[in-house]
């Protein structure tokens, strides 16, 4: 009792003597929630710098590098526009930059609506945090605003990373006045709030209404929406090959994206605000007509953005009061389909495909396959990874051109290897996210495997085979698709397939080996395991391995297939040496791949044999 102040008693206060305190006012409630967020953020930052210094440093450095790279790219692009299209203020300059800004901001507008809606949905309806907050005396709208702030932050940081270098580069290139740079932040913040607010309102309304809507109506409406969107996107991007990059194509493209310049779009207000702010401050002063001053016009656009953002803020509060609690209750009580485990045809197929392996490895592989298949979070991310890649590769058929000039062939060859590197990098994120945490996740139910008559090595080998074969099949198919669309030579196709095998086996070995060497048995979330030190190291080592392997196979083959036909010659690129460079490059790539496959796996096996599970 020594810790108690003299006035404090442990005896219960009689119920009739309990005087309820007046609950916090709206402002006070907002202050309390801000303080909560600040405390949590500070603790998270402290934890991040104390336990994941390498990862944080890598992320900051890579973000900085990415920002600088984008800045350079935009800077060069706007320099090109100024030199070859026209100075700032010229009609063509304004039209070109306006087209770029409108298109850029309109696309991000749509993305922000969806990303903020999805983030808010997961924050509001499936987080234990919300479940707790709903049981204490807090206003419903405060919970929604608290989660909405998170949704705005998490959905818009990518926008800031993409838009800020472009805006800064444009301002520097056109010599924009100081107020252009001063208005950047308020313009961006006010703009971002609008699509995020729309996403939030949509999320609240859908969760509130959808359980009452008939499934057939929702299904048909969704299919129609997807079909219409798909048709519209296809109409927008499908252009006859012959007119690609011509004047007619350029005009058609501008016309086709006229919808991005709608007067009611927030992206139009942002573009207007930016372009006006970038114009010289003296324009309009001569006439003495201050409303025509660019800075004033820019501020008018800003005020339109701010007033709309504030209106949406009020609408979110209104929607939260009416829809949130009811929506939450309906969401919690939604009909859930009873999932009965069945031996699906696909499982039988997998078992058949794996029949060459020993029964123990086959059983472990089928088990991992079933766990992946039955976890929608896992395979949906898997589908997004490879779906986006497939979309990208389907677009490379624009480079297939019967014209066989050297620059075109060089371009196609470079693109084909770029595709290979892209597939490899996506694969490395896949192995980091899915394969690296597998051993750590096994720790929770290791007693199951530990009590079975299975050697520990078998577990590691099964993980490796699962990762290598599971990644090789889709990657190989995607690379083949890209090569066929690009009409590259059979030698290049063979070389790409070989590189793909080397990448898949090497990356699988790095992920499984590091996963066994640095397991994290205290964490149950695979994404958190992947975000730790080991996951970051896995990503960095994988990226280095991909770059080395692709360069070793791409450069010699480029010289062999393309440079040999060039009129420019060099003593190192003599025709008799080209074959030597090609085979040396391939040989070295195979050697490095063998070492990358064997060593991490070997170290992983040794570490796993020594592991003690609690």
């Amino acid at each position: 009792m020594s810790h108690l102040p003299a006035t404090v008693s442990l005896a219960p206060v009689p119920a009739d003597a309990r005087v309820g305190n007046p609950l916090p006012t709206e402002d006070r409630e907002a202050q309390i929630m801000w303080r909560l967020r600040n405390r949590i953020s500070i603790a998270q930052l402290r934890h991040l710098f104390a336990t994941a210094r390498l990862r944080t440093t890598v992320v900051i450095c890579l973000s900085l590098l990415f920002w600088l790279g984008l800045f350079g790219l935009f800077f060069e692009g706007f320099e090109f526009v100024v030199k070859h299209v026209g100075e700032a203020g010229a009609a063509h300059h304004a039209r070109t930059v306006s087209f770029v800004f409108h298109l850029f901001f309109a696309s991000l507008n749509v993305m922000l609506v969806f990303s903020s809606g999805i983030i808010l949905y997961s924050g509001l309806y499936s987080s234990p945090d919300t479940r707790y907050l709903l049981t204490i005396p807090i206003r419903s709208e405060r919970i929604v605003l608290y989660k909405f702030q998170e949704a705005v932050f998490f959905s818009s940081w990518g926008f800031f990373l993409l838009a800020s270098p472009m805006m800064v580069a444009y301002g520097i290139v056109v010599g924009a006045p100081w107020h252009y740079f001063a208005l950047l932040l308020p313009l961006i913040v006010a703009f971002v709030y609008i699509p995020c607010g729309l996403g939030a309102l949509g999320c609240l309304w859908i969760v509130h209404k959808i359980p009452k809507l008939r499934k057939v109506i929702v299904g048909v409406a969704s299919i129609m929406l997807i079909a219409l969107t798909g048709k519209y996107i296809w109409n927008t991007i499908s252009v006859p090959q012959s007119s690609l990059f011509g004047a007619e194509w350029f005009q058609e493209t501008i016309d086709r994206f006229a919808f991005t310049r709608g007067a009611l779009l927030p992206s139009t207000w942002l573009t207007g605000g930016l372009l006006e702010a970038a114009r010289g401050p003296s324009l309009g002063l001569e006439s003495g007509n201050w409303p025509d001053m660019p800075a004033v016009k820019s501020c008018l656009y800003l005020s339109v953005l701010i007033s709309n953002a504030l209106l949406l803020h009020l609408l979110i509060i209104w929607g939260a009061k009416r829809w949130f609690r009811i929506g939450f209750s309906r969401y919690e009580c939604r009909q859930t389909r009873r999932r009965t485990a069945q031996i699906a045809l696909v499982d039988k197929l997998v078992t058949l495909v794996l029949s060459p392996f020993s029964s123990q490895i086959r059983l472990l592989l089928v088990k991992d396959w079933r766990l992946l298949r039955r976890d929608p979070v896992q395979w949906s991310q898997f589908l997004i990874f490879f779906g986006l890649l497939g979309l990208y590769l389907l677009n490379v058929d624009r480079f297939s051109n019967p014209n066989n000039n050297l620059s075109y062939v060089t371009w196609v060859h470079m693109v084909s290897f770029l595709n290979l590197a892209v597939v490899g990098l996506i694969l490395s994120t896949f192995t980091t996210r899915f394969i690296y945490p597998m051993i750590s996740l096994e720790g929770h139910c290791f007693w199951i495997l530990g009590l079975l008559p299975v050697r520990r090595d078998t577990i590691i080998w099964s993980k490796f085979l699962f990762a290598a074969i599971g990644s090789w099949i889709p990657c190989s198919a995607l690379i083949l698709l890209s090569d066929v669309l690009l009409c590259v030579s059979p030698l290049a196709i063979g070389l790409h397939q070989l590189t793909c095998v080397l990448l898949c086996f090497g990356l699988a070995s790095i992920a499984v080996g590091l996963g066994a060497m640095m397991p994290n048995f205290s964490e149950r979330s695979p994404s958190k395991i992947a975000a730790g030190f080991g996951g970051t190291l896995n990503l960095v080592l994988s990226a280095i391995y991909i770059v080395v392997t692709v360069v070793l196979t791409a450069l010699p083959s480029h010289f062999f297939l393309v440079a040999a036909t060039s009129p420019f010659h060099n003593s190192l690129l003599l025709p008799e040496l080209l074959r030597f460079w090609l085979f040396s490059g391939i040989g070295l790539a195979i050697l490095i791949a063998a070492l990358t496959t064997i060593l991490p796996l070997r170290w992983g096996l040794q570490a796993f044999r020594r592991l003690e599970f609690c």
Binding site: P12, A15, D16, R35, R39, R131, T135, P137, C333
Partner: protein, 278 residues
């Protein structure tokens, strides 16, 4: 009111169940139903619990206990019927009802990146407690639940028992008039179990209405004034243990024996459920 509640407890323990709908009623379910899609989780629940009573809700897994508690604390709204706490309808005055409840869920939730003290401060501020009341309340609960050793550590490092004790402290901080507890003893060590049992009893004696759901029949038998038994969403018994003994003609039988004879054993239910699903 407190003396009245004490008198009522004595009556209840002696098997004389009080009348329903009196002014002391703190929790009132009026034909409350809740379904999950087509599955009825709670059906037409009518139940009144007065101040100063420990009420234990019993039932097999899936009987509807947790849904009842979730409706009581405002997480779920009833499809039909009404639920009131302290005279306030939870559907229309969620904030007022939450202010009079202290809720301890079976899975304790704490902000991982806050220390226990920061969490308790946050809770106290949300209940409108001023700085002096907050300091005194936190000191009292630290002492009561013996949180001194870890209260200033981040809660991410707490064991299940430590989390549960901190959640108990946060629920008691504002001296609630109603305590709602889902499985009160899960994860607690024997010493803490004794502490919680004594606490619930003393709070009820002081006039707090205690509503708990439990599978630990011995605890219900030891501290509950009245029990409710749910089966497939329906309240099939509401009364004292004496009344249950009387109803089942089992004088001297333990609550476990009475409960199993009323509800049936789980094997029967599992077979029935399997039979239904097939």
């Amino acid at each position: 009111m407190v003396s009245h509640a004490r008198q009522r407890n004595r009556d209840l323990n002696s098997g004389q169940s009080g009348t329903r709908g009196d002014p002391d009623t703190m929790i009132e379910f009026q034909n409350a139903s809740r379904n999950y899609g087509t599955k009825i989780a709670v059906e037409e629940l009518t139940l009144n619990i007065p101040a100063g009573e420990v009420f234990a809700l019993l039932g097999h897994n899936g009987a509807g206990k947790t849904t009842t508690i979730k409706m009581l604390v405002g997480l779920l709204l009833p499809n039909s019927g009404q639920i009131s706490v302290g005279g306030h309808n939870i559907a229309t005055r969620a904030r007022d009802t939450a202010a009079s409840i202290g809720y301890i869920p079976d899975q304790p939730y704490l902000y991982e990146k806050l220390s226990g003290r920061e969490f308790l401060t946050f809770v106290a501020e949300m209940y409108g407690m001023d700085p002096d009341q907050t300091a005194q309340g936190i000191a009292r609960e630290i002492e009561r639940f013996e949180l001194q050793e870890f209260i200033d550590e981040l809660t991410e490092r707490y064991s299940h028992g430590m989390k549960q004790r901190t959640v108990f402290a946060s629920a008691m901080l504002h001296n609630p008039r109603v305590l709602v507890i889902d499985e009160p003893l899960v994860g607690l060590d024997p010493h803490s179990i004794r502490l919680v049992k004594d606490l619930l009893r003393s709070e009820a004696t002081a006039g707090t209405c205690v509503f708990m759901s439990t599978h630990t029949l011995v605890v219900a038998e030891e501290i509950a004034d009245r029990i409710g038994i749910m089966q497939r969403g329906k309240l099939i018994f509401d009364g004292t243990i004496c009344e249950l003994r009387h109803q089942l003609d089992g004088p001297g039988q333990s609550l476990e024996a009475l409960y199993l004879s009323l509800v049936g054993n789980s094997t029967d239910l599992t077979s029935a459920a399997l039979h239904r699903s097939s």
